[in-house]
Subunit: 432 residues, 2 copies
Amino acid sequence: VNFVEAIARKRDGLELSHEEIEAFVQGASDGRVGDEQLAAMLMAICIRGASAGETQNLVETMRDSGALWRVGADYPAAVDKHSTGGVGDTVSLVFAPLVASCGVPVVMMAGAGLGHTQGTLDKLDAIPGFHPAENRARAFQLLDRCGVCFAAQSEEIAPADRRLYLLRDLTATVPSLPLIVASIMSKKLAVGAARLVLDVKCGSGAFLKTRKAARELAEALVGVAHGAGVEVRALISDMTQPLGSRLGCASEVRAALAVLEGKGDPRLRDLTLELGAEALTLAGHAPDEARRQLATRLADGSALAKFRELVEAHGGDPDEKQLARPQTAVTATARREGYVTAVDAEELGWIAVALGAGRRTSTDEVDPAAGVAVHARVGERVSAGRPLATLELGVRQVDGEGLRARAEAAFGIGDEAPAPAPLVLERIGGST
Amino acid sequence: VNFVEAIARKRDGLELSHEEIEAFVQGASDGRVGDEQLAAMLMAICIRGASAGETQNLVETMRDSGALWRVGADYPAAVDKHSTGGVGDTVSLVFAPLVASCGVPVVMMAGAGLGHTQGTLDKLDAIPGFHPAENRARAFQLLDRCGVCFAAQSEEIAPADRRLYLLRDLTATVPSLPLIVASIMSKKLAVGAARLVLDVKCGSGAFLKTRKAARELAEALVGVAHGAGVEVRALISDMTQPLGSRLGCASEVRAALAVLEGKGDPRLRDLTLELGAEALTLAGHAPDEARRQLATRLADGSALAKFRELVEAHGGDPDEKQLARPQTAVTATARREGYVTAVDAEELGWIAVALGAGRRTSTDEVDPAAGVAVHARVGERVSAGRPLATLELGVRQVDGEGLRARAEAAFGIGDEAPAPAPLVLERIGGST
């Protein structure tokens, strides 16, 4: 393959051959293709798009660029769950023990947060001693021991994606649908669970702002999973406001524990139950039975026990008192009375980043104690002076007053109650 | 300027601001923008195009990325000539002494050849001792001394173009019209002659295969020159067959001398006279008077004398006997009788490269003795066995028989004479 000719073909909107896609992916992982050629190809794909066949090819060659864990071969019932990233999205920390407590093994590869959405890896890192699996042997050990494995993205999985991901960030090619699909699915397929539940976030706080874009991504992800022989369900869920009421690493671990204890944020609980039901129906349960079993496991404490068990299996301390706590706090309050018409999830996410709960660049340190507690939801009636959010300050020196003003401005308050929005907007690839 | 945002704007087909173009060009010349970001921007420009305003901005910021020679300030009458590159295009070697012998100073920045078109710099290099000017002081000395200066592209002129040019080659972004215009015109404007004659080649042997593409480029070049206050004329000339009948460095110097001696290839002479007439009318001569004066200078030997003078001024030996000669030759002959319907200029150019007369990659050495002599033109009647071309072999070991077969196949022979094609297809930006 002459790689300049391959770039020229995609530049002109033609379909890349299997050999050309292989040259692209192999060249990305072994370094034989330079950054400038990868960048030109990424931009050509970003503008010209890719067919379903090209996307499938891209995903599978990226999958094959590194180690294959083949989880599905040893654990055919194991399920993987992936979220496209939201604010206050604590689902993974509840989903994993809850579904595992129903007898369905769960494997999840967690990523570090970047930008306004926080990553599951950072939240797990708030648990003292917690170590995600970094290779296949450790992952299988964890699945054996407790039926749940949280893995960290390692060098051995889809190395082509690692290089392309960094380049996309630099070259304004992040929003490309086939490139997003390739990045997500190459890693999922390399881990190799045979069942997959996808949570595609949609709305102002999500990467995908419109229903149309979210549906396109969900359909593309489902199509590629099917093409690779993976059973899959995708939900499109609301991200016009934060999902849970807590943003920040230690704070989200506590929020997860609250749900596992049968209390906690109702939106976080509801979406976790919806996704859990998808996982259980993939495992052969009837929808009603699935929902009943999930509710039972929450009520009888077995999901909470599974959480403690998985934390210990991963080397962590399950004692909630060991979690970091904020040093001090600043409260944002309502400037007028009325109905909450909007809660700007992206802005609250960035405020959390400013407090130290996330990363602006990949080298930033995350402070587990920092975060934002959200006290008001869209549709609630508030009086003037009522607390809307608490900014939880950790070790980082910040302009508390400036952030308070930004937090107050992140809440829209109006005279009329907005129409209620459903939490699950759409189901793709099957239904419970 | 956030450069990722600038790339995103061009990716989405929006117009870049002056500041964004400046960030691109400055970043290319001072290294602050990495290859991957330059490549992404090049691809976005290649696919999305650029407005006239963006192109003008790009040219002028690229011009200003290095030294400005401002030739027009000291030599307001000086003319520059540029060809987009053809096969057997020996015009510069005749044009420069001929126009200078009419009292119009000529400055030309010559480039090395790459691919199937040979470069003027390589042809000049075939003259023993010849050294093109490499800086402004030397260029002005040559203009003072003999009214002609051949300059080599130097590090100091448009450094942004040098980096972008290399990247375009690697990233399949060479065919972008605004990038071609920027590359050509940034260097012309940095040299700074106030008058410019352009020869845009069109046809199978040229970079631009269609009249539409050639016209678009010519109009864009003329527009940018006007925008920068340069008086300009452009011809679109035929490149469906080689211009002159000689390809190869020493051989083209001899072909130029033949025209200067009042003999030589009629097509090479005719196009040089057309371009010379444009230059003289730019200098204020009436068209008829211009043509008369050019013919006189050829006839009375003053153009030839000026050639010898300029060669000596550049340190070269004007003795034709000092030029390299081929070691041996292979003759390609007609396989049947009939009319020559096509002479594949690009294929003959590549055969010349294979013989050593040009470069496949920029690090190749050029053999001045190697080349191709073309004996038959489109429309000529030939008998079977009649010589069509002589492959002139220099020091390089080549497969003479294989090249002979390729050369024979480069001539189309049919039963009917093709319609004659004009040498000058169009004039843009004024007319003689």
